[in-house]
Symmetry: C2
Subunit: 121 residues, 2 copies
């Protein structure tokens, strides 16, 4: 009895609307997508990727440094993040280190991002 009254109370209650509005993706999936966006959410990383994408083959770190307005340790830091994200790879040649973009990973990232965005717009 009490139970029925409670249910009725809820139905007639002061809900603004019923929560049919559920997210289509789990929070875990949203977290994964957020990581994708996070990797691109810094101007220096975007510029580094831009230079690397535009230079088929390899670019040495000194040229990457010249392309962005931060000091050498900071460039190294962002290159590390990009490397750990799998978006670039590096190769040591003598005294220098050359970076190149990983097209496959970049394409996969682009596809995942586009899929998220398709749901919004």
């Amino acid at each position: 009895m009490t139970r029925v009254l409670e249910i009725v109370d809820r139905r007639l209650g002061d809900r603004c609307c019923d929560p049919t509005a559920r997210p289509s993706r789990s929070h875990a999936e949203a977290e994964a997508a957020a990581i994708d966006f996070d990797q691109l959410a810094h101007p220096v990383r975007l510029q580094l990727l831009d230079v690397l994408a535009r230079n088929e083959g390899r670019v040495c770190v000194c040229d990457l440094e010249a392309a962005v307005p931060v000091k050498q340790p900071t460039v190294s830091h962002h290159l590390r993040l990009l490397r750990e994200a799998g978006l670039v790879e590096s190769e040591k040649v003598g005294q220098w280190v050359y970076y190149r973009i990983r097209r496959d990973a970049a394409r996969a990232l682009r596809d995942r991002v586009q899929q998220v965005l398709r749901a919004f717009a």
Copy 2:
């Protein structure tokens, strides 16, 4: 004389490669793009946008709260960020506030993001 020697020294010097590798976009443009990615770089914001996109019309805050695993002030915080970014708009109706996604802004954001990504992959 000294000057010529210096130039020659640089030419023959120990550069790994000439910096033909310049970014195609300015740092200011990269900063603007990074802001776009930043707005999407959080799981709660992605989930909120997801729910809003999937509900043509309006969704009240209480339902948005139910859709994400954070407390009410945090939901309010992220809704404010989305509102300030122009991605959603709100309307107060009596006791409740309804949010809706701004399709035009979402589409514009998507297009800008896609343009950046096209350069990479």
